[in-house]
Symmetry: C2
Subunit: 106 residues, 2 copies
DNA sequence: TTTAGTTACTTACTTTATGTAAGTTAGTAT
DNA sequence: ATACTAACTTACATAAAGTAAGTAACTAAA
């Protein structure tokens, strides 16, 4: 478990983030536009507990922006920052790959 | 936890795979060419236990190919299949994104 | 002919992450 | 007061990951 070749720390960090359950799908969902908590929650098979956790992490990374609208009941919108938007090509590549190489069923 | 919009099952499956710890890094490492177990193990901070598990999963998905050379001691080489190679653009996108948007330290 | 060395794994066990469900907070509306 | 809503939290069970030691098959050295 000692590394002989050095992994680029930026790349390793990005991998650690994207290689976390739900992160990619949450960002993918936000590519369709700003959305509130319950909307993301119902578009993915993720629980509120984890969605809350992931959104917090993504906000800290500067990938997601959280905006509070003091309406009734309160509306909170999540959207992608420029850094988050920059992930679109990556997600489109995964989309393409999955269309070309994954068959469903199992 | 009910989905109102339907997630494409191919994309969801690809996400589940790539959004697993180490999967992306193992494939990234194999992009540099066929390699044996101990070589991958020492190039990433992954343990033998998990590397063995991931390689088995990737082999089952048809992303990685395992070849046994009955030398002394036995040599086993892992390489990417065509399906695995097709993930290169995706990994290059992540590489680019990380160079542009991630700063190291923390 | 014991002893040690090599690669490629397994097994056993601990810690961390995730899944599930119920509960909380703040602000109306009835 | 009671109920309703959105957005979370908390508590607890299960699954996945981390760590370290062990195994199998073979060779090479003492």
């Amino acid at each position: 478990m000692d590394q002989s070749s050095i992994l680029c720390p930026r790349f390793a960090k990005a991998m650690k983030m994207m290689g976390q359950r739900w992160t990619g799908l949450v960002i993918y969902q936000l590519l369709t536009g700003p959305q509130r908590f319950c909307s993301i929650e119902s578009s993915l098979p993720i629980s509120g507990r984890l969605l809350s956790e992931r959104l917090k992490e993504l906000e800290q990374e500067g990938i997601v922006k959280r905006e509070v609208f003091p309406e009734t009941p309160v509306r909170i919108e999540y959207s992608l920052t420029e850094k988050g938007m920059a992930l679109e090509p990556l997600l489109r590549e995964l989309e393409k790959w999955s269309q070309n190489w994954i068959e469903v069923e199992n």
